[in-house]
Amino acid sequence: MKAANSEWRLALAGMPPDSIAVFQPAVGPLGGRRIARAFLEEAAVLGGGRVVALAGGDLLLGRTVAPGQRAVQAIATLLGHSPRAWPLPLGQAAVEGVASAAEQGTASPGWSMAALEAHCATLPMQRFSRLTLFADGSGERAVAQRLSAAPLGIDDVQLEAAAQEWLCRRLLSALTNPAERAGLPALRPGLRLILDLPLHGLGQGAPLRGAAADDANGPIALLPLAALGETRAFEQRVASLRQAGWAVGLLAPDAVALDWVVAPEFIWAAPAGPVAPAHLPPRMIALGAPAPAWCRGAGILHEGIGA
């Protein structure tokens, strides 16, 4: 990295008139960032110039403006937000500031599966277990509580899902093991329980009892949406959960799934965006605080109320 440092400074100082700088910050999922970098690299090949990878983002120093601007457009269409761009040499000072800051950032650590598994096995329960509270519709009072593992913030979607799976198993085993239970956040009596379940099986431990089958306030088991992929195993799990008194919900990592997947017989939990999904399921758990206004409708449990 150190060698690259001085290189980008030199390159920036030597940019000809009518050139362009584009900076794409390293935020959001890895996949989109990689495509954005490929677009910047294409602009560098077509128009001359180079792309510098910094810890906090990618910097295009393009010798011609048009390919750089096309890359900005393409990235905006792809990711929904435009990267910052400056005409050079006019914007040299601004670019220098942004790139220096990006250089100071720390690149996210690359996890191997084995290292991540070990990390998840030893992470103290208090560090990842969390209890979030939900109000119903237009109410402000907590009516439900969700026990789940907080995301680790890994930018690789698959690794994050794997970590969730391992942490989720630890939460479940702690729930059924009196010795470990002290490490969990205290559940509130009287609030409906929403519990995340792992993708595969329930793991070890006593079968979890829910409520009577017709109890509208019975606890909700959230299965990852990916569980739908194994049709037969999914049907069996749903049947046995329902028999044990659980309502079954699907946990979608992105609300776009609501528009694509037709499964209205389940409660849907998904991150709530600013705009209501085109196909709102009859029962929904809106994740994320503060909850946008559309979440105040009937049949929607939402976050964003005080402890």
Partner: protein
């Protein structure tokens, strides 16, 4: 050569069967009457089915076919069906001649006569039986439980290092995707699917271990193999020679540097011929990532296909909602046994434009017939593969 010829004849017979089925339906709608002679050669013992016997049968049929406007259809399985307008004296004559040729089997059994349109349903049933569409062959595949232990994460890591230096060529599989309609003479190639053959690769790099026992590691291994394949394709010469290709990839592999390099090398024309197939299970695991790929594909001009759909997944992800540019539905024999409501719901989930559907796993004529009945004309499977030299 033999296998190729057989597969070819099978396809021709398939076409005859489909034509006969649609003719039976036409007779019902128009009320036109026909006499149908069913020559059940499939009942004839093998020793009497040599070429010279076949010739005798054809000669006996000739008086029926020549003077009237009768048509002869050959069904998969070897049965013949002749249709002739009423009153059908020629048909009776021919029937007696055929019966004299094969006196071992009673005439009612060997040579049933049907009337259209009254007995159209019976004719359709026998046509479907000849195609295997009566679900007589629908058996669920028996899963063999492996007794091998799963690999550890460390063993998989070591296997992945070995993969980086392994010669991948012998583990790559190519298979054609074809357009085959009941009206055209021969299948036309659309894409060539290219994928690493994972069972062989796993057997070579992880001997004595059952990779499928650990889904997370299996997925990791699969992606590593895909990236290796993409790395080999992402050279200017390879990319130029790729042609119309279908790459079945994990969702995550499409945003890896190897694919992005290939995407850049292909140029607009090469990308126009590329089909990238991502499994529906990957979509469920990462819907946001799938949405990103859709935008990416649109921007770059390659086609994103939703892959590995079965009837239940397709009903969950109906085309009317997702609107996929292309989808690949996997044929399984038990789809033949589906009852009317599940057939209807499956068809409702397909895109109206059936050119967006590829039926994979078309290993038997029944699969092609099943597809044709639903307007599907794009196939991948052993039935078509046998033709390739």
């Amino acid at each position: 050569m033999n296998a190729a010829a057989e597969a070819w004849d099978g396809t021709a017979a398939l076409r005859d069967a489909m034509a006969l089925a649609s003719l039976a339906r036409d007779c019902v709608t128009s009320g036109v009457e026909r006499r149908v002679l069913h020559v059940r050669l499939s009942l004839v013992p093998a020793r009497l089915r040599e070429a010279r016997h076949q010739r005798l049968v054809r000669e006996a049929l000739a008086p029926l076919l020549r003077p009237t406007r009768a048509r002869l259809y050959e069904l998969p399985g070897g049965d013949l069906v002749a249709l002739s307008p009423p009153p059908g004296e020629h048909l009776d004559e021919t029937r007696r001649a055929l019966s004299r040729l094969l006196p071992e089997i009673p005439i009612e059994t060997l040579l049933p006569v049907l009337r259209l349109p009254a007995e159209a349903a019976r004719l359709l049933t026998l046509v479907e039986a000849s195609l295997g569409l009566d679900a007589s062959m629908a058996e669920a595949p028996v899963a063999v439980a492996s007794t091998l232990p799963p690999p550890t994460a460390g063993e998989v890591d070591a296997a992945l290092r070995a993969l980086n230096t392994a010669n991948l060529a012998s583990y790559l599989r190519r298979q054609g995707i074809w357009r085959l309609t009941s009206g055209t003479a021969s299948p036309q190639p659309l894409w060539t699917e290219l994928r690493p053959h994972l069972p062989d690769l796993a057997a070579a790099l992880l001997p004595g271990r059952d990779l499928s026992a650990n889904p997370a590691l299996a997925r990791h291994f699969r992606q590593a193999a895909e990236r290796r394949m993409l790395a080999e394709l992402a050279h200017p010469q390879e990319a130029r020679a790729m042609g119309e290709a279908c790459l079945p990839l994990s969702l995550a592999s499409v945003t890896e540097v190897e694919f992005l390099r290939l995407d850049g090398l292909l140029g607009p024309k090469g990308r126009g011929g590329l089909l990238v197939a991502v499994s529906a299970v990957d979509l469920l695991a990462d819907p946001g990532g799938y949405a990103l790929l859709r935008r990416f594909a649109l921007q770059r001009g390659w086609t994103l296909a939703l892959d590995e759909l079965d009837p239940s997944l397709l009903r969950l992800l109906p085309a009317a909602r997702l609107d996929p540019a292309m989808l690949r539905l996997r044929f399984r024999p038990d789809m033949l046994a589906a009852d009317a409501p599940s057939r209807t719901s499956l068809e409702a989930a397909l895109p109206e434009d059936r050119d967006r559907v590829i039926l994979t796993g078309a290993d038997t004529p029944a699969a092609i017939a099943w597809g044709w009945q639903r307007g599907i004309t794009r196939f991948m499977g052993r039935v078509l593969e046998a033709r390739q030299p």
